[in-house]
Subunit: 288 residues, 4 copies
């Protein structure tokens, strides 16, 4: 791949900081803006119109269309940023939103939402699974070895989490809904349950991890959970667990979100870098 791209990175958190460093280590020219609490930055956006690739954070926007920049005092409207760019320039960001993406296209920009790329989602599932394991190790007074663990859902996170838990010696059950998913669960050697038929059996687990973004652990289900069982919900807000009911029942339930950036910010930065490179390959026809 070319090692002389000219990147502009705007806003974001520690991941964006690591991303800047990683791109520089690969030999690229990198300008940063609105990260001044973490590293030296440009004061203005002068020169951004010559960038090969402008990178916004995940999510790109905070409230009211202002650039998401927790490490900065700058208040940059994304709309204004867009108008500084020339037709043909590449703009990458996470969760760009339909409106902003359409506006970019209308201006002739190539706008790519990296959060929609499957390889980023798959790779982010690794630090998510590790982050969940770390929390479980911190919270449980027993080992994960020999613990009876239920993973609800066999999507990206469910697959990799079950794999790691078994690597640690846990007794892993995974629940899913389709016959095909149940066949996969068994082919990998886990016990399988149907997600709609968990009622009455939840009391036999020491750890329950939900990965399904739908209400799967409501009050009735939670009444069946054993005291001392830890519940982790990894599904994006509002999650799949009735946290109020859990609290009323005296159960410990944790909604663990954004684990890649928290548990492994350097890894999260590398995942962003590689995904940006894939985008460049596809846009430029550049060979890896």
């Amino acid at each position: 791949m070319r090692r002389d791209y000219y990147f502009w990175l705007l806003g974001g958190d520690r991941r964006q900081v690591h991303l800047a460093r990683l791109l520089r280590e690969d030999g690229h020219q990198v300008q940063t803006y609105a990260l001044e609490q973490a590293l030296p930055c440009a004061e203005t956006l002068e020169g951004i119109s010559r960038a090969d690739c402008v990178i916004l954070p995940l999510p790109a926007a905070g409230a009211q269309g202002i650039l998401n920049a927790p490490l900065s005092d700058h208040k940059l409207p994304l709309r204004g940023l867009m108008e500084l760019l020339n037709p043909g320039q590449l703009l990458c960001g996470g969760k760009l939103g339909d409106d902003f993406a359409r506006q970019c296209r209308e201006r002739g920009l190539t706008a790519v939402d990296y959060f929609e790329r499957e390889e980023l989602a798959v790779r982010n599932a690794v630090p998510t699974a590790e982050g969940a394991i770390k929390i479980a190790m911190e919270e449980l007074p027993t080992t994960l070895y020999d613990a009876r663990v239920l993973v609800i859902g066999f999507g990206r996170i469910g697959k990799l989490l079950a794999h790691r838990l078994r690597g640690l010696g846990a007794q892993v059950t995974v629940s899913a809904r389709s016959f095909a998913d149940l066949a996969w669960i068994e082919a990998y050697g886990y016990k399988s349950e149907h997600t709609d038929e968990l009622a009455g059996w939840l009391c036999s687990y020491d750890l329950i991890v939900n990965t399904v973004p739908a209400p799967v652990l409501g009050e009735a289900a939670l009444e069946d959970v054993a005291p001392g069982c830890l519940i982790l919900d990894l599904a994006s807000a509002p999650g799949g667990v009735d946290f109020e009911a859990a609290a009323a029942l005296g159960l410990k339930a944790i909604h663990a979100l954004s684990l890649p950036g928290k548990a492994a910010p350097v890894t999260a930065g590398k995942i962003l870098r590689d995904t940006i490179y894939h985008v460049l390959q596809e846009v430029d026809g550049d060979d890896a």
Copy 2:
């Protein structure tokens, strides 16, 4: 599930024989036909119109629409069979074909092609992977432990084969084409290669297993394969390997097909049974 279904099993090989036994062990009433070289059978089809479920083999038909019945002297046209059945009856078979399936529907039968069910395909991938490992163990003068193995393709068989090979201590590389598949391959801990960029690196493997039903190992690629390397092609005919070129180059290349029935007929019978049960659940609304 109900334990009093009335099944008719027609034709087929050892798998169908095991299926008959397994259904009886579960308490069902089972009548067999056109399996008389393996077990006692009905002489006629009298009574088949009362069956809850008629099961044809995989594939259902041999030449010219005659029932596939290698363990029998009967020559039963499927068309004729169909006319003995009543509207509403359930007919299951493998690779029914579009024409026959349409004719069944026109007669009011519920015709289900179990070979198209994803859970059967997933579960069959397990004996396929084991069968491939058995052949590799028989053919290679080294252990699979520490062998450098390339698996081409990360579909059902590729996933489970890579998993088992690593369980045996092989050094596993998997090739695929999409960034998402490559991310999965790495998340599971295998080395990844792009299937289109294998040229020049094939010489570094002791075993190459193809699972992709497309020409991936042509003459040019094969010239790069090391002498002594074993090539297994698991893709359905015509497979993905140029076998003539391999032979001319003195390479050992094996096209291994229908491994579930060969390597593990009892397991293959159980997979059929469970898939039939799933069909009955969906058709009857019967709870498992």
Copy 3:
């Protein structure tokens, strides 16, 4: 096994508290002493002479031969305790010491040091390995997945730690000294290095875990370690790492001790319980 033993538990930390609960759950009669900050206890030792088994903590003694009792204000000399017991009674404790054990024998007591039992050491290696993984997850800004990890030593902890690390997808190298250990390391699929030949290669690891109770990472070796590499020393004091040199070099080095009780006190209590049961089986000829 008999479910009506009469136990006295004296002193100790949370593990001893869990042990009391577990023994009661199995139906035994349990009296506790010198744990009054955690649970109701006897005020005096009256009745201890009728105990089937007296259990001291790990280690049994604190300074000057006083019972190790961090959850109590009692100051009980072990010597005085011994004189309350009758010949033939069973006394179990951890690290009893040669002198005390001899005195017990002279008085006709059956004194067993459970810390010397191999099955306890093996089982304790599981929470030790998990505790090390938890610390590494907390300290490293990357995932353990794909991290380059060196485990020094292939004893109990080294074996189980390497096994778990690989389960998480780390790139695991293990060092040992004997050809036999090196052969074991390779047979399990890890990369192997000779412990005496690590110099010059330490810079290639993201995490180094020492399990050898001997000075293996001195100043010269540490100079080779990469900045950002985390060093965990699991060997009992004084450990195998020159911590002063590490600090001077700006390396993060952590001496992690007593992990079972810290990371998984309930599991540690179960391990104690099962070991006590084994002792009773052997002493009483009682069947499990």
Copy 4:
């Protein structure tokens, strides 16, 4: 290591043939004798007194102290060979026997029995485990995936066989006798049983593999084994299974011996080569 040793290889089977090739590939000078049915050999032993290392096969001797040479018509008494060698020369062989080893030492030779080296035994356990898996795959009409397997004994072969079987998805139980071994079995995640308490439970396995060289499966035990269960005995003759009783009961029991040479002769040759190199390192003080 030095790459210019002068080796003489005498007698043996395909392993010895592969060993000769491997030593030559490493640059050494290799003379062979009594392997003439497989490769060109010296007609006489002239020059052997200048060899750095003389390598006899495993076992070194056939009947009456004659060199074990199945690929040759030569009848060489080992006693006579010894007298051609000079004091100080190195002689390696498998199962040399106490008498011959003593005679060698009396003559001033350095005689090393490589079969007694732990690293060779460990490494040979890998092809032994694979060979056992191959046989099980060939004999069982089911997959090893999900098969209920009992491994008797947790020595070298038991450890590696259990590890591989689980890698294939089998339900693995291992039996042993000491509390420490049982703790190891559980720490690696297998179910454990006491070898003396298998009676009454053997009927629940699809595959039983014995690795203990003692009578563990006698007539009474075998009566409990399920019809269709496969029994593999890997223990050296006479093994641990009562084969006559098994046959009378209609059980399939296979005594599988010398699996490394049969299942993976090239790997077996490499193991020999590396072990010889270790011997040379220790004898010569030669660095690897």
